[in-house]
Amino acid sequence: MAAVEKIIEVKNLDFSWKDQPVLSDISFELIAGSFTVMMGRNGSGKSTLMRIMGGLLPYDKGWLKVNGKELNHLKARERARYIGFMAQKHQGVFPFSVQEVVLTGRAAHVVYKPSVSDQGIALEALHLTGIAHLKDRIYTELSGGEQQLVMIARVLAQEPGIILLDEPISHLDYNNQIRILKLCKQLVKRGLTVLAVIHDPNMAFSFGDQFLFVLNRKVHSLTLDEATENGILNEIFENNLNQVSIDGRPFFINRIADKV
């Protein structure tokens, strides 16, 4: 196997919220230039882990290294150049234009006000996400899918090497889901590392390169076969899934029909 670059290394990391352990003794790695999908039940700690990795929550114990540097020691500005994070749901209040929203992604690169080159980079991010035509539209008036793309463009404008997307497709129609996952693959091809929380197993396993399963305060970095074999997949989906193989590709069908 060729030597792979570990862009994120997590070792024995603990995180508690109000004395309640959320993640305990977790260790995993992310490979540079991969599209990693994180799966797990609601409330299992996926968003917490994303926030920790995005530098928004400090961890208690263990360490988390980004490009070999301890995350807790990085200044916000420096961290933002390595890691970009998109929260699960964003509620816009003011009627900013799409371009103004995307431009705010440049905050780590701006002293007082964005330069012409910052504006160019924001525009480039809009082209990359395929929504350049929306640039003068009002963000709060867009559809959910369009808003999601704007927020992804915002993270891209930040120009980080790693992008964390918390449930980027959960509220979208099927076509928009495909569109965003294709975009993730495209970004990975450009050398970025993408980690996304996805609930739909078919979407997850047809697009992901690497998988993280969050279960019982632990994070398991496994392939699909490993996760099937040791029962973690069944545990997460509570035995509600049938795995079938079509043309050698795994597909998942729910078992509701068996039970009703």
Partner: protein, 329 residues
């Protein structure tokens, strides 16, 4: 093209407004040509009284009104951005009631100068709101607004005590002050207010683009490399410093800091990068116009806060109905 005209208009607007206001006043002894002749170089006006009326009564008042209107609008816009709440203005923080209490205390006890006391208690009120809203090292939008309501309640109660204690003559001046009044404006008051106002304006101007980032939300600001808590404290301090200094000399000009930022948004969009300057120019000019009405519409002066309240209240309700903001979450 249309937009360019609007921008030019905003930058030119203060000049005719400020100049034209020099002609307006209670004194009938000042003739139209007197104002011109005083501004012409080398022309020494014969009557020192007229000279005093124009240069020492009207001019400082106009400038004070301009900067008060400007800073209230700029602070309102900044506070709306950092709280992500278009219905917020300097009063939500309890700043006005804190300043009102301070001024009343100064008027009745002579323990502190009126302006200084208003300034100190304005800061105390904001500090109190911030302190009460702080939980787990974070200040949420809702908790800060609630804390502001509590602060307002506390200082309104304290103000009532001061009013009960004070003699009828002083009571009248407190009431006058509370409703917002520029009747006693002079160069002393102007110089007292101008330094904190300009200091606050400079800080808010430098941070103007970051208001856009903060307006998106704490998480968005933090993940893109800002420290939202620290930035918000800076902005809060700057806005409080400047607006309490203005309130200390002018009284409570109700809802003004709410209305003007919305007018600016309707005219020029939401981008705070431009809005800070436009709020200063439009907010300043418009308050000068309102002040002209308040000192010329009747034989006596009507407190300017009466007008801004009468304009602001229906505007606030219209905003509330239109935007549905404040109901969700």
């Amino acid at each position: 093209m249309n937009r360019n005209y609007k921008i030019w208009a905003v930058f030119i607007l203060p000049f005719p407004v400020l100049f034209g206001s020099l002609f307006i006043g209670a004194s009938e002894r000042v003739a139209f040509h007197d104002v011109f002749s005083i501004l012409l170089p080398g022309n020494r006006l014969a009557d020192p009284l007229i000279r005093t009326i124009i240069l020492d009564i009207r001019l400082p008042r106009i400038l004070l009104v301009f900067f008060t209107g400007g800073i209230l609008s700029v602070s309102g816009a900044a506070l709306q951005a950092i709280f992500r709440n278009p219905l917020v203005d300097p009063y939500i923080l309890g700043l006005s009631s804190g300043a009102a209490f301070g001024a009343a205390l100064g008027l009745t006890t002579a323990f502190l100068p009126v302006q200084l006391a208003a300034f100190i208690f304005g800061l105390v009120a904001v500090g109190l709101s911030h302190f009460m809203a702080r939980k787990n090292g974070q200040v949420s939008i809702i908790s800060l607004i609630l804390a502001g309501i509590i602060t307002n309640g506390i200082f309104t109660a304290l103000l009532t005590i001061v009013q009960i204690w004070s003699d009828p003559f002083k009571l009248q001046s407190i009431v006058h002050w509370i409703m917002g009044n520029f009747q006693n404006a002079d160069w002393d008051k102007f110089t007292l207010a101008i330094f904190p106002v300009v200091a606050g304006l400079i800080i808010l101007f430098l941070l103007r683009w970051k208001l856009n980032v903060l307006a998106l939300g704490d998480e968005e600001a933090a993940s893109s490399g800002l420290n939202p808590t620290r930035l918000k404290i800076w902005i809060l301090l700057a806005a409080t410093l400047a607006s309490s200094a203005a309130i200390a000399v002018s009284g409570i000009i109700g809802l003004y800091g709410l209305v003007i930022p919305h007018v600016v948004r309707m005219l020029f969009g939401v981008d705070n990068q431009r809005a800070v300057l436009y709020n200063l120019l439009i907010g300043g000019s418009f308050l000068v116009l309102i002040d002209n009405i308040s000192r010329s519409v009747a034989g006596y002066e009507i407190p300017i806060g009466v007008f801004t309240m009468l304009i602001g209240a229906p505007f606030f309700i219209w905003l509330l109905k239109k935007s549905n903001i404040g109901w969700q979450q």
